[in-house]
């Protein structure tokens, strides 16, 4: 067939440096994350089957595939078997897709195919040539490069001759290939099979499965590339989000350990801590600040955010325990004006409760936000709620950390150590992923509580092994603006008596 003559071998570097050897030319779907998993997109000029049960997100997937195609200069045809053009447009308007406008611009054609068994009498032989003509005409009308058939299995409900339909659908998929359109065909999940009518047998190049599960009253959507002929692809289940930004898949794979390691140092925002680390955190490294309740984790971590903003770098702050207002107030009380950076759009605060969504949904959300905002630094405060239970939580966190490293983003995580738990053991699950680990402790001595800080580990840098006392005070509000060269003074690390002499020897 003609498709064979177009077959070329492309060698490309994947986003994360994974070499992609592919026998099929690919069309970038434009769906966030999907193109990474598939090593470049869906098979160009061929049909892809997207299956899933009701509510799994098939139609949204298909719509976004078309809309992103149009944005890339590839007009599209949406053949809807279940919704009218108006219903479809209404349903996806909340995702920011304006189908009416695209139709008016002649970049999109939505054709609602109505097949009602009650209204049709069948007598004698027929075929689906009308559908072929209709689709062909629609493709020609807008010069379509992409086509969606959603959900073509509806034909089986409308027409009685199943064996004829099967033969015609087989012919339709061949026809789509011959027309060289990149197509997405959606299908309902069947019992014990990918699709109810076994369409996976006809669409041989690429099959994607969407899944929507509710476990412990928490819903998680997952996507899996079941099959992708002639192409390496991630075989894992990837969580995905559907929200007002459309579809986004969390593509992070465990490719890991291929990221570049920067030798550049960035300030922790606390001058003395920088000294202890011999110059600050490495850019792009992952920092864990752990400690018991009230030991000052957020304050120490937020200093890093403040310092990054002062350098003019974008920061993304995921707050899972406090609302943005509460956080801003609390930080103001220790001399940090986060509002200023938010106004200048250097800082973005994202607050939500970990319990509301599943871990994976959270990570997918974080991933999408990071991609959108493109920060130089990320603070996750805290990660504890994600790490305390299951082994796959660690796997998910590994994915997030890998992603941050690939992007060269410096990340600070805070983690709550449960009272009575051994500090060094409680975070054993994630410690191997962490480059620099700072432990905060509450000390009770001579009738007063005080805080202490130490660097438990810091890869690739000589660092202080001291345990140092520190205080969080109200001083030093906005010093960044007035005296940019001055070290920030509001979080002050005070040495314990008797340590000063040793410090001289260390540095």
């Amino acid at each position: 067939m003609d498709a064979g003559s177009r077959r070329t071998t492309t060698r490309a570097k994947g986003r994360h440096g994974m070499p992609i050897v592919s026998a099929l030319p690919k069309a970038r779907s434009g769906i966030r994350g999907l193109d990474e998993i598939t090593g470049g997109g869906l098979p160009r000029g061929r049909p892809t089957l997207v299956c899933g049960s009701a509510g799994a997100g098939k139609t949204l997937f298909a719509v976004e595939f078309l809309v992103r195609g149009i944005e890339r200069g590839e007009p599209g045809v949406f053949m809807a078997f279940e919704e009218t053009a108006e219903e479809l447009a209404e349903n996806v308007a909340s995702l920011g897709f304006d189908l009416a406008r695209l139709s008016a611009q002649k970049k999109l054609l939505v054709d609602f195919v109505r097949v009602e068994r009650a209204e049709i009498e069948e007598t004698g032989e027929y075929d689906l040539e009308g559908l072929f003509v209709r689709l062909g005409h629609a493709i020609d009308a807008v010069g379509a490069r992409r086509v969606v058939l959603d959900t073509i299995e509806s034909l089986f409900a409308g027409l009685s001759n199943a064996s004829l339909l099967r033969a015609e659908l087989r012919r339709l998929f061949r026809w789509l290939k011959a027309r060289r359109v990149t197509a997405v065909v959606t299908a309902e999940r069947g019992l014990g099979a990918l699709t109810r009518q076994g369409l996976e047998e006809y669409v041989s190049d690429c099959v994607i499965l969407l899944d929507h599960r509710v476990t412990d009253q928490v819903s998680t959507r997952r996507l899996r590339v079941v099959k992708y002929r002639g192409s390496a692809h991630g075989t894992n289940e990837y969580p995905f989000l559907v929200d007002d930004h459309g579809f986004s898949v969390l593509p992070i794979t465990s490719l890991g350990l291929q990221h570049r390691a920067s030798a550049e140092r960035v300030s922790s925002g606390i001058a003395r801590l920088d000294t202890m680390l011999g110059g600050g955190y490495y850019r792009g490294s992952t920092v864990l600040v752990s400690g018991t309740a009230g030991s000052g984790k957020t304050s120490v971590a937020a200093r890093f955010v403040q310092a990054a903003c002062e350098r003019g770098e974008r920061c993304l702050y995921f707050a899972f325990e406090e609302s943005p207002q509460q956080l801003a107030r609390n930080m103001r009380s220790i001399g940090m004006d986060l509002g200023r950076w938010r106004k200048r759009e250097l800082l973005r605060l994202e607050s939500s409760r970990p319990a509301v969504y599943g871990l994976e949904t959270h990570l997918a959300f974080m991933h999408r936000t990071i991609r959108e905002f493109k920060p130089a630094a990320v603070l996750v405060d805290p990660i504890t709620d994600f790490t305390d239970s299951l082994a796959d939580n660690k796997a998910m966190l590994t994915r997030l950390i890998d992603f941050l490293k690939m992007e060269g983003i410096t990340a600070v995580f805070t983690s709550l150590t449960a009272a009575g738990a051994h500090v060094e053991q409680s975070e054993a699950g994630v410690s191997s992923l962490i480059d620099t680990w700072i432990v905060l402790r509450d000390l009770e001595r001579e009738g007063r509580r005080s805080r202490a800080l130490c660097v438990l580990k810091s890869r690739g840098m000589p660092h202080s092994h001291d345990i140092r006392e520190f205080r969080i005070t109200r001083r030093g509000i906005d010093i960044g603006e007035d005296q940019p060269s001055d070290p920030p003074a509001e979080v002050r690390i005070r040495e314990r008596p008797g340590v000063a002499a040793r410090r001289g020897a260390l540095r």
Binding site: E121, T123, G130, V133, H137, L159
Partner: protein
Amino acid sequence: MTGPRRPGRTSTVRAVAASLEAAERWELRLYVAGQTPKSLAAFANLKKVCETHLKGRYRIEVIDLLVNPERARADQIVAIPTLVRKLPPPVKRIIGDLSNNERTLVGMELVAEP
């Protein structure tokens, strides 16, 4: 309308026959895609039915989608051949080559459902 009200599907053959006497105009459209054996058979079968039951009171318009592809979308055509009874109302659709004479008559409401 000059004649009595056209009866529904469940009425008796007698009532149907009565309505036929009322000299209603029958407008039929046959959608085809080129001169395929199925299309030719459908046209021949339709012609036969009309000559038998509707002589002098019918008009068949053949629409070839290869010539007028836009009609497929405008008239909701999926299967070929499709016969659409435009008049008398309501609009009826029959798909297939009309080789089953009995079902064709039922579908067109020329006879009541057996």
